[in-house]
Amino acid sequence: MLHLLFLVPILPFCGFVVLALFGRWFDRRQVAAIGVGSIGLSALFALLVGFDFVIAPPAGDHFSQSLWTWINVGGFSPHIAFYLDSLSVIMILVVTVVGFLIHVYSAEYMEDEPDGYARFFACMNLFVGSMLTLVLADNLLLLYLGWEGVGLCSYLLIGFWYTDPANGRAARKAFIVTRIGDTALLVGLLLLFTKLGTLQIQPLMQLASERWVVGSSITVAAAGLLLGGALGKSAQLPLQTWLPDAMAGPTPVSALIHAATMVTAGVYLIARMNVLFTLSPVIQTTVAAVGAGTLILAGFSALTQRDIKRVLAYSTISQIGYMFLAVGVGAWSAAMFHFMTHAFFKALLFMAAGVIILGLHHEQDMFKMGGLRKQTPLVFWTFLAGSLSLAALPLVTAGFYSKDAILAGAWASDAGGRWLWAAGLGGALLTGLYTFRMVFLTFFGQVQTPFHLKPGLRLLLPLVVLAFLSIVAGFLDLPRTLGNQPWFSDFVHTSLPETKEIAGSVERNLQIVASLASIGGILLAYYFFLREPGFVRRLVMTPLGAALHRFWFVGWGFDWAYDNLIVGTYVRLARANRADVFDLPVRVIALINQAGHIVLSRTETGRLRWYATSVAFGAIVAVGIVVFVT
């Protein structure tokens, strides 16, 4: 079965090509059949391959499939080759299965769009194909191809409704900000290639651990540059500003690209290159610190948003912060576990929010929602399942098990573990608070806007499946204190290093504290936003409260600072350089050429005898050179 691996990424690409070339001649049913079918088949093959991999692990716990040589020049010959180990098995399963559910959902969600149905599915298929290329790539060049591919699709889909200039602006912002990280990643790849002479990931890791000393400057540079790429793609400090604006795209896009898959590519990259990060403890600690900082900052911002999708966007940034925290403290399996559970519940939350937005005629302001619990019970219950998982309700939700593993890993880490743990704990409280603020504002209280939609099966089925997964996925990895069945961790540890263990009693205490934090967050939300809404209103009225609220609402002023410091400076420089001083050397070359052209065109008189004379003269000169010079 494993040799069918190549079909997993190829099928979405086929869907893309068919839809991009012939999409305009198909009707909506055919477009949906191709767009959803290609991902469905891909998911089927991913399940077959994954099942086979788990049942009968190949030798060395990995499987490579080389399709062809991509380039062959001067000893550099990257292959189009796929590398499957437990890490990529998890990634392809999540990407294809969640991707398939989101495609099914989109088939109905996008049905009312006047045009662009085929364009939408073409881009979505291209995205899934690129994402699979990214996670299956055997060498860093192919990974980079997928990396840029997902960035491109993100750009195309954020700007899907391109007639509104604001959407185009959001798309450009997402592209340019992630591009900053991508450039760092590219420089990192070039550095690795010049120093180690290969880009194939496994030999590269081997060579790095043999030749480089722990903490040497070269490892810091290489890991730091890779981290730059990861920060941009995963919307972490200081490059997180693009993700909230990326919500301008259609909701299924937010669910697929900006929640479940693409934004976790940075976490995947760090996990994939774990040897490099282990070799440079400074950078690894930076990863953890960035994650901890991001999860707190984004949590506060999520708390003040009015737009339901922006709450989810900040929540995504915050949850990816948890994943960064986990990889930063070396809790590799916890990071991957949180990646998986987060993909389930965040895709679910986005899609449920999408149904609500659709039913309220594209109203996204939570303060104009309310009381939707009675009007759309199924959406409410699935949304609640996702929210509980996000807020990490103890014992019964997937989010609890993954977040708990991360907090335990943070506690065990040597480099400032207590601080990181405290940040994660604070984040857990915030998560419960902002999640249930969203739930209470949207589904409880007075009905403000009537709900006009009878969601069809294609909208609801993915919600139910994901709600089921958001609850039960946690039981894949039961910690030692609760059942001790770490199937998931054991599976991940075949390709990633082991996590440091802590004593069972400490772990139990940590779990109790974490449970209290998340339940506390939920209760606080209940108190603030359902029982005593006047209290928060009064709090926001006070000068300090208003200032903080504004500050958090605009995402800690990062956009403001970047616009003034970087964009403004750049624009001023561009204005000052309107005459283009730096092009002067180039323009001088052009002028010389032009002058030469004028002189030479003078010689073209149209007179036969003049030409004959020049031929004779040229012959004399040539003969003269032969006779006298040589």
Binding site: L600, T603, T605, R607, T613, A616
Partner: protein, 102 residues
């Protein structure tokens, strides 16, 4: 038969070639230009024959036969062009036909 020194033969060929070239360059009447071209061709043919004679090889004369056939073909094309020139410009002056100026 007294043999002709090679130098003199080549000199004659060179002189003929220069005369032909001068004719091509200075005459404006296209008929004379073509005539001068023939002189140049024959000068080069003479150089071949002299060289072939010097080495005792028939190749030079063989090559001149080819040059002759080529010259005949070239003259037929050239005369057709002369007719066309005369029909369009009503003159045989080559300098008048300078429409392809740059």
């Amino acid at each position: 038969m007294a043999s002709i020194p090679m130098e003199q033969g080549l000199l004659l060929a060179g002189v003929l070639f220069v005369i032909g070239l001068t004719g091509v360059l200075v005459r404006r009447n296209i008929i004379f230009v073509l005539l001068s071209l023939e002189v140049m061709l024959n000068a080069s043919g003479l150089a071949f024959i002299v060289a072939g004679y010097r080495w005792g090889q028939p190749d030079g004369q063989v090559l001149f036969l080819f040059v002759l056939t080529m010259a005949a073909a070239e003259v037929s094309v050239g005369l057709a062009l002369v007719l066309q020139l005369h029909r369009v410009f009503k003159t045989l002056d080559v300098d008048v036909a300078s429409r392809m100026r740059g």
